[in-house]
Symmetry: C2
Subunit: 306 residues, 2 copies
């Protein structure tokens, strides 16, 4: 099976109470593809400028990520984001955004990418997401979005959601999109737009999965130190869709739950260090070990009947 | 085994987006004892005035709650709280508080209450909580508190926490008490004050349990309609400690997890209707059915090893 992600490739400057970095490899497509690379073959589609060099390609390629569809813009500069987090680490404060080559991004999928089995539309303008969806034959498509598009391109976003199978969004954004404060109703309404599953990402509280037939939720893996939350949501999506891609076929409830758990595990490693630093040297054994820890942390034994 | 709770007995006036009630039986000790009554014998200690009549006693007694230790103050009026919730139902807004007899409350435990097996110190002034703890021989004591006491009686609260086994507080209050934004560290610091377990109540996100040896968390039972959140935390504590009391002995990890699940189940029924309306007509079968639903909603199957 194979997986393709379309999204941003960036350099990030981040300051948190635990330190700072002036220039790190980042962007939704990068965090996603590194996380997904532990499970399946990943192709990454996104724009870069002249400042994106061999070193950056090497990080992706070292994890087996196929970089053929990275769109190099001659004379351009790569998307740059500068932000910081306060003591509670819950909210990213943006200090500078330089869209650069990302401002004119028109995704072009190679034949191999068009034939990928699973597609992830990371958080980009919903018209672009829809164009990509229409180019790609993926049997399973997931989508992320954000408050900006809900505010400025709501109609387009709703149409785009209609063409995907799984929506992965923050719970506050699901509420904002549907104008429903109750998350169960918000998720049901999003499923009414077309998708068969909705994942509410809940930050430090974990994540919840809504499907037509059921509900599943799991807490975030408990960490004493969260160094940098940047990219956690995309790492979640990478672990989640990466595992689904590796399993093939139509995902059943059991497979979706395991995929949620892998997503949560990848997100937890992501936030332990700055940017991609922890995930870069992660091993599949470490992932499986934490999967099992998280599984046992959430297990409730049946009460024996008298 | 037996269980005693010391806390407020009140009349509540509540308005939510789903309706309003002008005068309902409420208070932390009431919500707790009704929830715990499904599991074990409960004694309730708290002050009431002349307006607390046969009808109110009957609600408690109908559930087997022993009301001998309710302190009737002649010529007094029962604690009254008026509040409302906005559309998102997360925050209670207080419109009026009349402490009445609760303002001079000096808890007196009968011999039977002093010999109870399990004690719950609901959210009252921490000096009073400590006096009660010193009167009571309970092998297991739990405590709730709130931001008011953290701000105005912090030193006393820390001393009181030192005398109990389990702290049950909102996660924001655990952070406030310890001045640690990271919940894992906050819980560890509270355990450093004496308790062997800390429960972080997380509202719509569920609850987390921290012990010396481990971590457990479960989501809230998903509800499409939350009518009135008043008393949810006390119903959680009632289900939790009620189940522990019924099991006897030192609770092991498996028992604590089941108790958390029963707590979550009772809280979920509590919020489905105003005040005690839903819990009043609840049955043990309904509780066990929802326990099993919540258990299956959180189950992750192991990944088979190759």
């Amino acid at each position: 099976m194979s997986l393709v992600v379309v999204g941003s490739i960036a350099f990030d400057a981040v300051r948190t109470p635990f330190g700072e970095r002036e220039r790190m490899l980042g962007g939704s497509a990068v965090h996603f593809s590194l996380a997904a690379s532990f499970f399946d073959e990943v192709r990454v589609v996104g724009p870069v400028g002249d400042d994106f060099g061999d070193e950056e390609y090497a990080v992706l390629q070292h994890h087996g990520v196929i970089t053929d569809d990275i769109q190099h813009v001659d004379g351009g500069r790569t998307f740059f984001w500068r932000g910081h987090y306060e003591y509670d680490l819950n909210t990213a404060h943006t200090d500078d955004t330089q869209l650069n080559v990302f401002g004119d991004f028109a995704p072009r999928l190679s034949e191999a990418s068009k034939q990928a089995d699973v597609l992830f539309l990371a958080n980009i303008q919903p018209d672009l997401q829809r164009e990509v969806r229409e180019q790609c034959q993926a049997r399973l498509a997931g989508l992320d979005s954000m408050n900006l598009w809900i505010e400025t391109a709501r109609h387009s976003l709703v149409r785009t959601i209609g063409g995907v199978d799984i929506v992965l969004m923050n719970d506050a954004e699901l509420r904002m999109l549907t104008e429903r404060p109750n998350l169960v109703r918000a998720a049901r309404e999003v499923m009414g737009m077309g998708p068969t599953a909705v994942i509410a990402k809940q930050g430090e509280y974990g994540a919840a999965l809504f499907t037509q037939s059921g509900f599943f939720a799991l807490p975030a893996y408990p960490l004493e130190t969260v160094v940098d939350p940047t990219g956690a949501g995309d790492s979640f999506a990478g672990g989640f869709l990466g595992y689904l891609a590796s399993q093939g076929g139509e995902p059943d409830d059991l497979t979706l739950r395991r995929a949620m758990t892998y997503g949560s595990v990848l997100a937890s490693f992501n936030v332990e260090e700055f940017g991609t630093e922890r995930v870069r040297r992660l091993t599949r054994d470490e992932i499986d070990e934490r999967f099992e820890q998280l599984r046992s942390m959430t297990t409730i034994e049946e009460v024996p009947t008298a």
